[in-house]
């Protein structure tokens, strides 16, 4: 870093240094964030294509486009790719990498080399996953439950590649979390006290804690699974005297917090969006900040609610059911405070805000339907049905992915220096929102009527709702492709964006667009909170959508 001269450090980061090596070996968090973004979006596309294939197969009763075993592989790949290659790294590693140091007023993350390492570790993990697909792919579901993942002797190499891939991806996630955690503690600009931290940072902080504490347990679980597979250890495999429920405990000890590793960043993003597009301080700022930590904490003590029908003791079932209801408290705090932020706010419906509002709507449905599943007696009926599928898609996609796209549209001008077409983005947002609800509302109904998840075929009476869901998926896809098209178009033809397109008072909008190599020419000194619109001068609130010298 110190090899760069003053002039380079204060040049637009996209053009400060040139050549492929300046990207491949960059230590700049902004470039690493962009590289992550490219691969994360590629994973989203791949996972999305698998989803469309799954939905197309389910359009009609009986075999439609693929065979049963292929179908099993398709939904496994959809789940594994979406969770491990897309959603978990999506917001932290791409948007977070880019924005977090700037919001801290820092020049970079705490450990830039680890940051680059985490990117390459991610690529290694992705490669191992691809190798597994090349060998014919796995059909275990994304959870790798034993004994499914141990049974088929012919699937050995594929399962090993996939498990090792996820194992390696875990390290990438740990490195990102570690980097953010330390950066937030040690690299805050002068005056940036804990109570002046943007809520995006608070969300990243809670996420990092979970990444750092939960992911190692996944790593060791997968390692034991590999040993079980290779040596026949007898810990998880019931045939050898092992305990398959133990695997489920281990798996969900990571994977429940992982759900919050996914959703808390989405919440973190929309907190920024609500403030900026309502021109108001976030109502109950401190409560919202603490609720992120609350989710991180509660996230570690509810894992077994995924196992109510697995054969745990009645006492354990009751305990985990009761604990699970605690989740509603921090979630409720957030939803109520966001809503209160909107009240008497000066709301604008710019494209990112449409996603924030969609998040509020969809996450609320996702959260409330979680109560049905956390309650023992209803869960016995709904477990492993489409109700569960719909529930977690409302949280994972309606929450995290919608938050991710909202954040992407929000920070896009800062990241790329280009402004996109509002009309196109608005159409994309509406198609996504409508398509999403059509796809998954119908799945709530299917599930409550007893349609089991992961099945290749179904009874004829379920066909009409499956059709509705599949057509919803197509609308959803058209919305996402529209948004992608709008963004790609902006790169090629978009007008140069201004310094502060949304008239936000947050720190990241005070630096150039795109930011200079070292983020700020001079280290900023923070004197007020991130949402203090009531203290802002008129000049600060001007929306300079386009750069003043941008010729048409």
């Amino acid at each position: 870093m110190s090899t760069h001269d003053e002039a380079t450090l204060n040049t637009n980061y996209l053009t400060a240094t040139k050549g492929w090596k300046s990207w491949a070996f960059t230590l700049d968090h902004k470039r690493i964030g962009l590289m992550y973004l490219v691969f994360v979006l590629a994973a989203f596309l791949a996972g999305g294509i698998f989803a469309l294939l799954v939905r197309t197969e389910l359009m009609s009763h009986g075999p439609t486009i693929v065979s049963g075993p292929t179908y099993n592989k398709l939904f496994t790949l959809h789940g594994a790719i979406m969770v491990f290659l897309f959603i978990i790294p999506s917001i932290p590693a791409s948007l977070g990498n880019f924005i977090l140091p700037i919001q801290l007023g820092a020049k970079d993350v705490a450990f830039p080399k680890l940051n680059l390492l985490s990117f390459y570790v991610y690529l290694c993990g992705a490669t191992l996953t691809l190798l597994s697909i090349a060998h014919g792919s796995v059909d275990t579901g994304w959870t790798f439950y034993t004994p499914y993942s141990l049974q088929d002797p012919e699937a050995a190499t594929k399962v090993l590649y996939m498990t090792l891939g996820v194992f390696v991806l875990g390290f990438s996630s740990i490195l990102t979390g570690l980097n953010f955690l330390v950066s937030i503690h040690k690299l805050r600009a002068p005056g940036l006290t804990w109570t002046r931290l943007p809520l995006f940072i608070w969300g990243m902080y809670a996420t990092s804690i979970m990444q750092v504490l939960a992911t190692p347990v996944l790593a060791i679980t997968l390692l034991m699974l590999v040993f079980e597979r290779v040596f026949g250890l007898g810990i998880f495999d019931p045939k050898l005297g092992g305990d398959p429920i133990l695997f489920q405990h281990f798996f969900w000890f990571y994977s429940h917090p992982a759900v919050y590793i996914m959703i808390v960043p989405g919440m973190a993003v929309v907190s920024e969006l609500f403030a900026t597009f309502s021109r108001r301080v976030i109502f109950g700022y401190f409560a919202v900040a603490m609720s992120s930590l609350g989710l991180a904490l509660v996230g570690f003590i509810v894992w077994a609610h995924h196992m109510f029908t697995s054969g745990m003791s009645e006492f354990a079932n009751m305990l985990f059911s009761a604990l699970t209801f605690l989740v509603a408290i921090p979630s409720g705090v957030k939803v109520f405070n966001w809503t209160a932020t909107l009240y008497k706010g000066s709301i604008s419906f710019a494209p990112p805000m449409l996603y924030a509002l969609a998040f509020l709507f969809l996450f609320t449905i996702g959260g409330l339907t979680g109560l049905f599943l956390g309650t023992l007696n209803t869960d016995i009926h709904l477990h492993d049905t489409y109700f569960v599928v719909a529930h977690f898609h409302y949280v994972m996609m309606g929450g995290t992915v919608i938050g991710f796209i909202g954040g992407l549209l929000y920070w896009w001008p800062k990241m790329t220096g280009k402004m996109y077409h509002f009309g196109g983005a608005t159409v994309g947002a509406w198609l996504t929102f409508i398509g999403f609800n059509v796809t998954f509302l119908s799945q709530f109904v299917l599930g409550s009527r007893g349609m089991p998840r992961r099945y290749y075929d179904y009874l004829p009476e379920f066909e009409s709702l499956h059709r509705v869901s599949t057509f919803g998926a197509y609308i959803l896809a058209s919305g996402l492709f529209t948004t992608a098209g709008v963004l790609i178009h902006s790169l090629a033809k978009g007008r140069a964006a201004g310094r502060n397109p949304w008239g936000s008072v947050a720190l990241e909008w005070k630096t150039q667009t795109p930011p200079v190599f070292q983020n700020f020419e001079q280290t900023p000194i923070i004197t007020k909170g991130p949402y203090d619109y009531h203290l802002a001068s008129d000049e600060e609130l001007v929306e300079d959508l386009y750069a003043p010298d941008a010729a048409e």
């Binding site: 870093m1 110190s2 760069h4 003053e6 450090l9 820092a106 020049k107 970079d108 705490a110 450990f111 830039p112 680890l114 740990i174 570690l178 980097n179 955690l181 330390v182 503690h185 040690k186 690299l187 600009a189 002068p190 005056g191 750092v212 504490l213 939960a214 992911t215 190692p216 347990v217 790593a219 060791i220 679980t221 390692l223 034991m224 040993f227 079980e228 040596f231 026949g232 250890l233 007898g234 810990i235 050898l240 005297g241 092992g242 305990d243 133990l246 281990f250 070292q518 001079q522 280290t523 900023p524 000194i525």
Partner: protein, 236 residues
């Protein structure tokens, strides 16, 4: 080590600080604190990772105590105890390396680092003898249990005193000590790199972060073994 002047926010000349302070830090103290916190967080992840194994161990031990008792008689307590002493001593020498580095005594630091690395070698040599004995005896994990040298073609040679589930005990033994042994190797690599940098004269009484963190990591390696030794060797 940090004068108030170089901590000012509007320092327009970020290159005025010492060469070992990276560009994105304001002061040497900030850089040191950051690195140290990073290492502590990393150690937390390591403990969580080993924690998973310890949980698996505890559950299996609670359910099948006889298997563990029977199995542990086949572990060599003397060698385990020797290794415990070696690792404890190496933790001391690692701490002494940090101390002498803080005092700016370069040669002394090198000597303590070399001692620590040698202790690690002794540990691995002892481990090698333990492992090769187990492999000869067929005290191996899972389906290889009773098959000396992992040779599945030969007729199985079981120890009569051992229940068949001892294969799970030896599986746990190999995973736990194997993962720990891997950490010893990594620790040796880190300490060697620190030694190399020390010989090159990169450290001083003002800047000794890598020595400090290397030693911190080494203490973790020691700590894990302190739990592994009684849990595996001394449960009878």
């Amino acid at each position: 080590m940090s004068s108030p002047s170089d901590a000012t926010a509007h320092d327009a000349h970020p290159h005025e600080h010492p060469s070992y302070v990276q560009h994105h830090f304001d002061t040497a103290a900030q850089q040191y604190d950051t690195a140290k916190l990073g290492m502590w967080v990393f150690i937390a992840t390591e403990i969580l990772m080993f924690g998973g194994l310890f949980v698996a161990y505890a559950l299996m031990k609670a359910r099948e105590p006889d298997v563990f008792i029977a199995g542990h008689h086949y572990l060599n307590k003397e060698m385990g105890a020797l290794n415990t002493v070696v690792l404890l001593f190496s933790s001391l020498t690692a701490a002494l390396a940090v101390r002498s580095s803080q005092l700016g005594k370069r040669n002394e630091t090198s000597a303590w680092l070399v001692t620590t690395i040698l202790c690690a070698c002794v540990f691995l040599v002892v481990k090698y003898f333990e492992y090769s004995h187990k492999i000869e005896e067929g005290l191996l994990p899972g389906r290889y249990f009773g098959h000396p040298f992992f040779d599945m073609s030969a007729a199985p040679a079981f120890h009569e005193a051992l229940p068949s589930r001892a294969n799970m005990f030896f599986g746990l033994y190999f995973i736990m000590t194997g993962l720990h042994g891997l950490h010893v190797l990594i620790g040796m690599g880190i300490l060697s790199w620190v030694l190399l940098r020390n010989i090159r004269g990169e450290f001083s009484a003002e800047y000794f972060t890598a020595v400090d963190l290397g030693a911190l990591y080494w203490h973790l390696v020691d700590l894990v073994w302190i739990y592994l030794f009684p849990l595996l060797y001394l449960i009878g």
